[in-house]
């Protein structure tokens, strides 16, 4: 057997923190052949990024490799001196980071930055480095490369910035490329284009690639081999086909089940336990059909929003939601979905249009005064990132009590305490956690606090603004199930804003597709996604990496 390009054996990485040392990577052994694309999959805290940083020696000062070795072409690179490693870095291995905009220098033209990367490893005249930079921009398929050479990062879209990062990474023809969540934060269609580009460049130049991602579908679509990490350990390694059809390790089984696909149901996302038992019981209860002729809960007519610059962020948006109904709002970044949800939530004013809630017009009440409206408690919102949706100086208890004090007319005391505890129990948050501050809670717990706060006053309409976008898949699965249960228990209506079509398909009866502030298509969720009528919706649907689609692709 030929020698592999990269081999980690029994690697341990330890971080020293205030509370003693923490082992982030515990005994990882894996190897990578020349030109191979390996998927390194895991949730946050699994040690997947730390493994990548250990290989490229980008661990921060607190992290150390405490045992094991990393062999690159047979040479143990953990023992190399700094200077020797630097010559290896870039020329033999390169890294692509998650947030391309943050990784690029904002005050230097991208052509110069690529030229810098080239001349850091090879001595050459500046003009030659620039010429090579131009070639690289062509290679990563940037339109008008001559013009773009002098562009600054803020003038480019996120996808374009990531292409520039790829150009820099491949500038010295490395044998190994480590891509750490290269497309997280990009829109699905952009994600597909960038990943296709990355794989074709890697194949063309014979580069081995490690794709670090939390997205099983993405790994399945692009990698021949996938390793799954959990809490610093490597739990399973297999071809995607085998891994996803017949996962052996319980953690992999849980992860595969939790990843929403085109055909999954909310009930199947989480393995049987108490929460699921509660869920199934609620789901089984028949929903009384709403009497014919009841007016819709919410009716929106020709809503529009123009900001100062003039261009309309949202135009001609009309929709209806009945009580207990769940409506999805999907679109890519900049499509106006957040603006729309905030107008409906009466946090910002619309420029035109009418919002009618339970037969009463609420669109004319200025957003500035809406906190005094009796409808304030009926329309609540769950925010995208649980990390910044809780006041850092409020405990979980204060967060949930806040709407009860403001809108529920309650006073501090035993009744309030009981009510907050009841809300916490409804969202599955342990009562002991109520005294904690947000930074002492995990992402999933913060999400639960955010949901408990939103449902505390028993609203009729809940606007969910990408409620699970910042969560790990297994946590997302539990939160989605929780939301669906709450909806059924309270006959709550949802306006579910998301970019994740698989999630929307599961959660919503009807879906509206938004592009550049206008409705492109709407209809019953499953039917629409199975048979999209417009080219844009079709493009969206096709760009979503599915585990099944990945299997089909790798099978051929």
């Amino acid at each position: 057997m030929t020698q592999s390009l990269l081999a980690l054996s029994d690697l341990y990485v330890t971080f020293s923190t205030r509370r003693g040392s923490v082992e982030a990577v515990r005994g990882v052994t894996l190897s990578l052949d020349e030109g191979e694309m390996l998927g390194l999959v895991g949730e946050s805290g699994s040690g997947k990024s730390v493994t990548g940083f250990a290989i490229t020696r980008l661990l921060d000062a607190a992290g150390r490799i405490t045992a094991g070795d990393i062999r690159f072409r047979g040479q143990d690179i953990t023992k190399l001196s700094g200077g020797d490693f630097r010559s290896l870095h870039g020329a033999a291995m390169a890294m692509i980071f998650q947030n391309p905009r943050a990784a690029l220098n904002p005050i230097r033209a991208i052509g110069e930055q690529i030229a810098d990367a080239i001349s850091a490893h090879k001595r050459m005249p500046r003009s030659e480095a620039r010429a090579q930079a131009l070639e690289l921009l062509r290679a990563v398929q940037i339109r008008d490369p001559e013009k773009r050479l002098s562009a600054y990062p803020h003038e480019l879209s996120g996808g374009m910035c990531q292409r520039v990062m790829i150009a820099m990474a491949i500038s010295c023809n490395p044998a190994l490329l480590i891509a750490d969540e290269p497309t997280t934060g990009l829109d699905v269609t952009t994600q597909k284009v960038v990943m296709d580009l990355l794989t074709s460049i890697a194949a063309e130049r014979g580069m081995a690639t490690i794709l670090i991602t939390h997205d099983l579908g993405l790994a399945a679509r692009y990698c021949r081999r996938v390793v799954v990490m959990e809490q610093g350990r490597l739990v399973e390694e297999a071809q995607p086909k085998i891994l996803f059809r017949a996962p052996r390790h319980p953690y992999t089984r849980r992860l595969v089940a939790a990843s929403p696909t085109a055909s999954s149901h909310i009930a199947d996302l989480v393995p049987p336990d108490e929460e699921r038992g509660r869920y199934v019981a609620v789901r089984a209860a028949p929903k009384p059909p709403s009497a014919p002729g009841t007016p819709p809960l919410l009716e929106v007519q020709k809503l529009a929003k123009r900001f100062d610059q003039g261009a309309a962020a949202v135009a001609d948006f009309s929709m209806m939601i009945s009580a207990g109904e769940s409506v999805g709002l999907v679109g890519e970044s900049g499509s106006g979905k957040s603006t729309t949800s905030r107008m409906i939530c009466r946090l910002i004013d619309a420029s035109e249009g009418e919002i009618v809630f339970e037969g009463q017009s609420i669109g004319h009440i200025p957003a500035r005064d809406f906190h005094r409206s009796p409808f304030r408690k009926d329309i609540q919102i769950v925010f995208q990132d649980p990390n910044d949706s809780l006041n850092p100086r409020f405990t979980a208890f204060d967060c949930i009590a806040h709407p009860l004090l403001r809108l529920g007319g309650m006073r501090a005391g035993d009744a309030l305490r009981r009510r907050v505890e009841e809300c916490a129990q409804r969202v599955g948050l342990e009562v002991e956690l109520l005294t904690r501050f947000p930074h002492q809670l995990s992402g999933g717990q913060k999400a639960r606090v955010g949901i408990a706060r939103a449902i505390a006053c028993r609203p009729r309409l809940l606007v969910l603004d990408e409620p699970t976008a910042a969560l790990d898949v297994s946590v997302q699965a539990v939160v989605l199930q929780l939301l669906d249960r709450l909806r059924r228990e309270d006959d709550l209506a949802f306006l579910f804003v998301s970019h994740d079509l698989n999630v929307v398909r599961m959660m919503c009866d009807r879906t509206i597709v938004l592009r550049s502030g206008r409705i492109v298509e709407q209809g019953e969720s499953r039917a629409m996604f199975d048979n999209p009528q417009t080219a844009y919706t079709r493009e969206l649907v096709e760009a979503v990496p599915h585990i099944e689609a990945g299997l089909a692709a790798t099978a051929t």
């Binding site: 946090l347 906190h371 990132d385 501050f437 706060r453």
Partner: protein, 282 residues
């Protein structure tokens, strides 16, 4: 202060001994300001001419001045006045500046631009000269020193609070507060201001040192506190006449007191931020 906060403060101070030294210095200064006048060995005002211009000795730790007053007693008594001027000036500019800045940072738009330009104009003047002009115009009184010092400190607080609030105004928890039934004003006062306090505490600590220096500077050039009131700036000014004759203790000790006070406040700044930031606690 809960026990967790105290434990956290202890941890920060252990990891950063310089902050601990500065904190001890500020504590000492505060104690001296509170209890000093009642424990000093000599009356700081009454002159005792036969004892004039004695060098430091066991009886007069820091020597005596040209009127025979004990320099050490005057130093101790002056701490109260200097600290009081600094604390009230910084307190006023912080209270006003933080609210104006937070409102501007949250509201944006025309109000923000108008206040921003006003602050620019204020900062275009040499601040010490501005303070001099104000004290000269308003009259040589302690209140006027406080007002002048507060006004020249104001721009820093406005800018600081504005910037800190501005980066937070679009965060989820600010919108959440509105969805929970809070008005704009309540969001600014009850949510945003408490969250920018830790960052501003650093500014306050740095500013206290600066305000002491400013008050002393005004007195030194004859504006503000008048003799025979003991005040560090006046003591330096009066002592300056005697340097050429080798009576160094008249200037050296008040100068040293000023330097140490300013140094302690400045060093304390960073430590304060680490202690007050809830995210640093685990």
């Amino acid at each position: 202060m809960t026990s967790a906060t105290l434990r956290h403060a202890g941890w920060i101070l252990r990891g950063n001994p310089l902050t601990a030294v500065a904190a001890a210095g500020v504590l000492l200064l505060t104690l001296v300001a509170i209890f000093g006048p009642s424990i000093v060995p000599y009356d700081p005002i009454v002159s005792d001419v036969p004892q004039a211009l004695l060098p430091p000795s066991a009886a007069h730790l820091a020597g005596t001045d040209q009127l025979g007053r004990d320099v050490f007693s005057r130093l101790i008594v002056a701490a109260r006045l200097d600290l009081a001027i600094a604390v009230s000036a910084v307190g006023i500019s912080f209270a006003i500046g933080a609210v104006i800045g937070a409102v501007c940072g949250y509201a944006g738009g025309r109000l923000d631009r108008a206040v921003g330009r006003f602050v620019d104009v204020l900062m275009a003047f040499p601040l010490f000269v501005l303070a001099m002009a104000m004290v000269a115009a308003l009259g040589n009184r302690v209140e006027n020193i406080i007002i002048a010092t507060a006004i020249i400190n104001l721009p820093f607080y406005i800018r600081f609070a504005r910037a800190e609030v501005n980066v937070r105004r679009n965060l989820g928890w600010v919108e959440a507060a509105r969805a929970c039934g809070d008005s704009h004003i309540s969001v600014v006062l009850r949510f945003l201001l408490p969250n920018v306090l830790p960052a501003m505490a650093v500014q306050i600590s740095l500013n206290l040192g600066w305000a002491i220096l400013n008050a002393a500077g005004l007195s030194f050039i004859g504006l503000g506190v008048k003799p025979p009131t003991p005040e560090w700036g006046i003591m330096v000014a009066e002592g300056a006449r005697f340097i050429s004759t080798g009576k160094w203790w008249l200037v050296a000790f008040p100068g040293l007191a000023l330097m140490l006070a300013v140094l302690c406040f400045n060093l304390l700044g960073d430590g304060v931020r680490d202690i007050l930031d809830p995210r640093m606690r685990t």
